[in-house]
Symmetry: C2
Subunit: 701 residues, 2 copies
Amino acid sequence: MDVHKILIQAIGEKWRLLPEDMGKAIVRHYGINVPAGERVTSFEEAQRAASDQGYPLVIKALVPELIHKSDRDAVRVGIENETTLLKTTRELWKLFPNTPLLVEQMVKPGVELITGLMNDEHFGPCLMIGTGGVFTEVFQDVDFLMIPADRHDFLRVLTGLKGYKLLTGFRGKPPYDIGNVVDALRSFAQFGVEAAGYYETVDINPLVVNESGAKALDVKIVLKPLFAPATLDSPLPPTHYLHHFFAPESVVIIGASSAPTKPGNVVIRNILANGYEGKLYLVNPKGGDILGLPVHPSVDSLPEGIDLAIIIIPAKETPQALREVASKGIKHVVLSAGGFAEVDEYGAQIQQELTNIIQDKKIHVLGPNTSGHISTPHKFTSSFFPLGKIRQGKVSYIAQTGNFATHTMKYILTGEGFGVSRVFGLGNKIDIEESQALQFLGDDPETNAIVMYLESIKYPRRFLKVAGEVTRRKPVVMLKGGSTEAGKHAAVAHTAAMASEDSLVDGMLRQAGIVRIWDYTHLILAGKVLSMVSLPKGNRVSFLAPSGAMLVVLSDLCTRLGLSVPDLEQETLRRIQEISPPYIRMRNPVDIWASVSVKGIEFAYREGMEAVLKDPNIDAVIPILMLTRETGMPNFDFIVDLMKKYPEKPILASFSGDKRCIDECREFLEPRGVPTFFEVEQPFEALSILVRCAKVMNRSK
Amino acid sequence: MDVHKILIQAIGEKWRLLPEDMGKAIVRHYGINVPAGERVTSFEEAQRAASDQGYPLVIKALVPELIHKSDRDAVRVGIENETTLLKTTRELWKLFPNTPLLVEQMVKPGVELITGLMNDEHFGPCLMIGTGGVFTEVFQDVDFLMIPADRHDFLRVLTGLKGYKLLTGFRGKPPYDIGNVVDALRSFAQFGVEAAGYYETVDINPLVVNESGAKALDVKIVLKPLFAPATLDSPLPPTHYLHHFFAPESVVIIGASSAPTKPGNVVIRNILANGYEGKLYLVNPKGGDILGLPVHPSVDSLPEGIDLAIIIIPAKETPQALREVASKGIKHVVLSAGGFAEVDEYGAQIQQELTNIIQDKKIHVLGPNTSGHISTPHKFTSSFFPLGKIRQGKVSYIAQTGNFATHTMKYILTGEGFGVSRVFGLGNKIDIEESQALQFLGDDPETNAIVMYLESIKYPRRFLKVAGEVTRRKPVVMLKGGSTEAGKHAAVAHTAAMASEDSLVDGMLRQAGIVRIWDYTHLILAGKVLSMVSLPKGNRVSFLAPSGAMLVVLSDLCTRLGLSVPDLEQETLRRIQEISPPYIRMRNPVDIWASVSVKGIEFAYREGMEAVLKDPNIDAVIPILMLTRETGMPNFDFIVDLMKKYPEKPILASFSGDKRCIDECREFLEPRGVPTFFEVEQPFEALSILVRCAKVMNRSK
């Protein structure tokens, strides 16, 4: 069977919807089971088909334009004998004259799934899988996969459905063979990839799963108006050149300014404050000197061989400056100005001019409209926001927002204890985009973990490939802006109706092994814990709290976050009971207050924490410290000591009580490497991010 | 039809499950439609039934012990003619010999709902309503209602289902008559109330809704082993006596101590620190004086007519002290010690002794195991935790935890700007429980809003009645501990399987008009906003943020929280465009940074905020202030002024930038009545609590 020939012919004849029996023949060709059936145009043919297939039967009118056949009574089920066959065919031909009918064996009921293919302009071919039936749109229990995909990805999306439990032995039914379903999905995906030039969407709805396997009861192929090959790949260019941005030996600032509030001045002060050790050149037509550094009147007068230029002048003057630095042989440029495609049509024109120059001169550009980048291992930044000295750390950020290298960084420096390694402010991404940035950080020995904020993904297929590999070596966490935008696809079919931009992104991030977060504040939370503690072995937490209500409410929170609060070993129970008055039955979570009131805060928390840290059932420990002046402030060294003694088990601390004591304790613990959280929910949220990171890093290949 | 007689007979004959046709006859008697059907025991009877009903038919074996009939092939659908009728009856009698069959008209397909009744030991009769079919357990799209209930409650739970949209015209079907469904549910609930003594659970599954109305296709009544009347009411006792706890004219402390760390000393210092103006007596066998106050050696030596006693001595000595104060004529007592039923069997015995004394002496008790109560309008507290002077406010708390009047209160006093009116620490609730507390606060002119933390509800029916009324006058917010406990009901039927303790509570809180929250931190957040701002008219918010990423991410958050970010009036747009450079297209949410950089922070935020405050499409405004030393700290009076000028529109502020500047701004704004939030998500979460409060207060009667 030549599937391509059939499809190209159908498109040539301007069909939008392939007749169901042809659709079924195609997917059967790819190895997906469909009911035995025949197309008939007369009662005699129907009789013959009936005797071939055997009763009971299903009869469908092959009405070409119908999208939901059930809406127009074109499907009749449960035809038990010839009398009903005659009656039914008559009725259908009366409703749909001269329409061929499809006479099919009736399939035994089973669990109804839905699967579909969609050729997204931006994401390429994607497979949808979900719980089917009338509730698909109501409950939206679906997931998406960019195809081709690995076998374990199909298994992951299938087992991740809420409706998956229907397949595993539900209400007295036997468990069904999941391998059959995965095989059917893989075959369908193979068709999806090979025929990507021909279809817009394909729905198999329902895919019925029962003890005989998985069977496609309806197949609806919506064709493209014209054949158009789908892009399946977007190769990653080499990223080694990014070293010139993050470890430049010499830098020139085009647009250096002597006015202290101007970006062209702040950027110089930032570079000096960070102790940059390379050569720094300034250019301004006025010449003279700024902050004690000589100013070159023009690019021409600069020496040869400068690594990196920062162009920090108005948008409309930027193309000329870019041409000049390129002509001078400078191959790496940060374009700081805004006022390009993000603003208006005129800005978009200037941005196109920049793109042309980049291609023409074979140079690399960060931005435009970037607030700069940071590289603490190289004591360097191009940020033009007054940051001063930036604390060094092991977490790197990729941010498609001017926020990050500016006021969010300012908050981290003034309100948190951790530092950063590299920060990419991507800006308008006319050259350097997230895939290159991620690859670079994946290879970067100074980066242990990566936190991203993106509003769009420029090359989803490239990104999936890079991320799928980097996330096996380093935790990658992402906040995606624009998660609740309305779906952009018109609802011609189920698959398309379910596929909002965000549902595709969401599926893709899971496929790539990226841990998705939802709050802006969690960009900071994630950076903090990934900086300060190691990933836990699993999701088993013990926490110590000063009140029953907190034990109850935080246990509820653990359940919501996917953390387990397991039972402790006998030896651990013995130990924590020993430090407590007998009227408290000690268990996990640990009700520590009675012990505190008898033994003192330091002894109770220290002994309690060490007991649960030693327990092989526990992967992480969260003490909630109740602090007031009146109940006494201990020496908190014991927490730092426990942290060092059990480095493989994260300790995350939170608080209750007097705000002033809490602040004091945080100021003691944070610089000593213990992450602390002002609100009691936050250490649990942070731990759940770590647990998810550990889980994806250990996923099967 | 005498339903009671039928049920009592069935119980007498030790039936657990009523045969389906009897169940159907009963619900039909209450006005619920069921398919026409007949019980048959021979093929001749089946033929006669068939000719009565007309094909197609459904045949069910009336096997008494079957719970899920479909599991054992006991249901056959689509019987089209006599041949099939014969074949089917033979098969069924072979599988289930000597079993009567139910021959019924086949009902046209429609939307499948599930509804059920459950006689919960604690909650009494409850009705469940949910989306039916095989996915009921998978998607758990169900809600619960304590019955009897008002008509609008049935409508609320029905329209609140995700699956409700299936009824309103889905995939080309016409919208169905919702009134029919509500009528069926009300009839069912009437049966549920009247027959509450007879059944454990009743399932109608499915209740099929189509253009002909709602029809019960299966009715399964699981009987009680013995008739037992259900409690439908638990009248509220008078609560006026609570004034003696919250405005006592004289107080005695039994167990006053001279040791500064002992509770019996701390409580005296708290009372003195708050400036209590009534008479304060102390009792301790040692006599002498404490903190300058004379100590009575015994209760005997006290004057007559003391309003309130605080007994703060060990558990085992508490009953004797309680007897003594009661004999002295003191009718209101706070029992502070722990060590009762919350600890062990011995403690439970002492607690029972206390209960006996209370009943015997007709006195009222708060506790035992309470950390005390607070009444700032009366400058009084019984808290034994070192709190000092407690700030007065208009929000009151009811807390079933020692946390609240202790370390959480300490945090509020040291870390937040708001105060409280009354605080109930309920403790073990042997006398005063949440319903009485809520009624008292509902009537209390010093309380504008009520925030609750409960782990159990002692009298759900009493509570529903009180809360249903109070929530129409004052906002009531609740955190319920133990929300993720496993269901306690064995899964003999669908309704019971879906009914965890928490799902009943959740339904009941909605029915009562209480706004449920999920985080411990939100107990404080809710108290704060309810103290500081008025309820908004609706959910329409405008926010001003200093970066595109925040605009995007916080818009996503609004969608998740049910807040709308509507378009602005032309005049508003004109005004905000006027203060901005032309290259930013100003809209809601407001991208304020360009305006700040041109016009300065004070001008930009002031003019931007006033423009959106004036807009009739906006109910609340959230400025995200970006503050650093370098970009300048304005005078924040303008926010206080706007707050006063537009009192009906809440202003909630958050921040970005330098932590030290943020702290400084918060310290300025909070004492001046502007609620501020450290994290950018919090003002939105707080606003969504206010919006939900406003919505339930305006609900239909």
